[in-house]
């Protein structure tokens, strides 16, 4: 069940390995998502020359624990006229799909559990929980399915702000999803595969082989669409406080609201990993820096970029988002695909 025989060939992936990987992803990404809220508050505070959370623990690090205790112990309220079943299911959809999407992306490097550990010793833990051959399609599809969370939540809660939030979810979903798919199509054509492992290996030849140099337009388009996909600031129409209170999350509190949040942060991490793997060389070694540090650095950069943009830019109106996606980004994406195709043929 173990044994590496040929160079470059990985050990057999067992069910136990996948299960361990799944538990690892759940545990670590939930923790990182919680930590992400702390980072976001800190970075936004620094950019506005504030201190951010400081009082709970050293540098406010235990603020996450305090928030967690608050969220878990809050009263669980289901509004009187809400459709209680859908109301309760919606946050689960967001959180679950965010983590299911993470099953298809390489989150950490693979490793083998040392032999001296009693039961699981020698089990090979893969870098991808399930290396499906439609990897990138699966991830994008799952993240798109995650939009059902806000949609159903907004419609189920019998609140006009929620309804507006749900309507905006539909608008946003219809707008960016086309751009995401088309912008990823050009790199997919270059690689000839949908597997993220293949993407990684296609860029193993140093910084010059990164797809960002071949596909700069696709990279920018994917970033813009990714911001829309994760409801980050230039496109945070779903829950913009100044306009629709909290949008789809107006009536949510406690852990149900927390699940929306964890889902959003998990999605941010997913999009960061996707952008890093597809365009920025993935987890290949970079000079003397090991691959797993490189992917961490890249993901951290994209995560920081999302916070940075939130601190700097105002957000757009829904009609501007639709205009941008349908009239500007989609034609550019199509032209990019066509040009890529012509260059490949010649």
């Amino acid at each position: 069940m173990e044994t590496t025989t040929l160079i470059g060939q990985l050990p057999e992936v067992t069910a136990a390995g996948v299960a361990i990987k799944a538990i690892l992803i759940l545990a670590i990404i939930s923790a990182v998502a919680g930590f992400g809220t702390y980072l976001e508050r800190k970075v936004l505070a620094f950019m506005q020359r504030r201190l951010g959370p400081t009082h709970v623990g050293p540098y406010g690090l235990l603020q996450i624990a305090a928030d967690g205790i608050k969220l878990f112990t809050k009263e669980d309220i289901v509004p009187q006229h809400a459709n209680s079943l859908i109301f309760k299911v919606a946050p689960v959809i967001t959180a679950a799909t965010a983590f299911i999407a993470l099953a298809g992306v390489p989150v950490f490097p693979d490793f083998t559990i040392p032999e001296f550990i009693p039961v699981l010793g020698g089990t090979f833990v893969p870098s991808i929980a399930s290396d499906v051959n439609v990897g990138i399609l699966f991830v994008i599809g799952m993240m798109a399915a995650g939009l059902y969370g806000p949609l159903l939540a907004g419609m189920a809660q019998a609140n006009k702000w929620g309804i507006i939030g749900a309507a905006r979810t539909a608008i946003q979903f219809l707008s960016y999803e086309v751009v995401t798919g088309l912008s990823l199509l050009a790199p997919i054509m270059l690689v000839g595969s949908l597997s993220l492992i293949d993407f990684n290996e296609a860029q193993s030849g140093g910084i010059t082989s990164w797809f960002i140099w071949q596909q700069p337009v696709a990279f920018v388009l994917f970033l813009i669409a990714g911001f829309a996909e994760t409801n980050r600031t230039p496109f945070d129409l779903l829950e913009h406080e100044a306009e629709v209170i909290s949008g789809y999350a107006t009536e949510y509190s406690g852990m149900r609201w927390g699940m929306f949040f964890i889902g959003e942060y998990a999605n941010m991490i997913t999009i960061s990993i996707l952008a890093a793997v597809v365009f920025l060389g993935g987890y290949n070694d970079f000079g003397f820096i090991a691959g797993w540090i490189m992917i961490l650095l890249k993901v951290a950069f994209f995560f920081f970029l999302m916070l940075w943009v939130r601190a700097a830019w105002p957000h757009v109106r829904p009609d501007q988002l639709m205009w941008l996606c349908w009239k500007v980004l989609m034609p550019i994406a199509v032209i990019n695909v066509v040009v890529t195709g012509i260059v490949m043929m010649v």
Binding site: V43, F46, M47, Q48, R49, R50, L51, T54, W308, V309, A311, A312, W313, V328
Partner: protein
């Protein structure tokens, strides 16, 4: 004389500046060029640059705005009118109040109460002096009218207390006798102005 001139609130001359806003483009081509121009102008990156610059200023150049309030406090103006203080004479340590009753008389919310009597030297002595801080509006008239600079407004603005009577008795407001050397001369509301000496003129003699 009519009231018209008093109803005109536009005091001063207005100097409005008209912004140079260009007209919205009409033709599709003009619209397209405007979009393209704005897209490649790089204004978005200016915004990103500003935020990251402010972050570096805050973190590494000590320009953080936050004041950790209960731990650190901003200095307040000497003219700030907080809880009153009764000052002492610097030489003898006796309280400055001469019991003239002007502050009690001028107090517009009737919150100052004082009782005086003659002591054994036939000098006026303040036997009772309280300020009802439930009524006091901190207008500063008492400090302004006091001829001896005896009652002044101190810098103590944190006035939450369990008892309404807290810090309202004469002894509470009076400078503690062992802190006499730390007593600050009041330069706020009602105090002698810094250039008072220059303003004093010789009394013209009529004869």
């Amino acid at each position: 004389m009519g009231l018209e001139q008093f109803k005109n609130r536009n005091v001063g001359t207005q100097e409005y500046k008209v912004l140079n806003l260009q007209e919205s483009p009409k033709t599709p081509m003009a619209k397209f060029t405007q979009v393209a121009k704005r897209t490649f102008k790089g204004e978005l990156f200016v915004g990103l640059g500003v935020t990251v610059r402010e972050m570096f200023n805050a973190l590494f150049r000590g320009q953080m705005h936050t004041v950790k309030y209960p731990l650190e406090k901003l200095p307040i103006s000497p003219r700030y009118r907080a809880i009153h203080e009764m000052l002492r004479l610097l030489e003898s340590g006796h309280y400055r109040c001469i019991g003239c009753g002007l502050c009690e008389k001028i107090c517009i919310s009737n919150c100052i109460t004082m009782e005086t009597r003659y002591d054994e030297n036939q000098r006026k002595e303040v036997s009772e002096y309280t300020i009802n801080f439930g009524r006091c509006i901190f207008c500063g008239y008492c400090a302004e009218v006091c001829p001896e600079l005896a009652i002044v407004h101190g810098p103590r603005y944190e006035t939450a207390s369990e008892q309404r009577a807290s810090f309202s008795l004469f002894e509470d407001m009076l400078t503690p006798i062992d802190k006499l050397s730390l007593q600050q001369e009041y330069d706020g509301f009602g105090a002698v102005s810094p250039n008072a000496d220059e303003n004093i003129k010789k009394t013209p003699l009529a004869y």
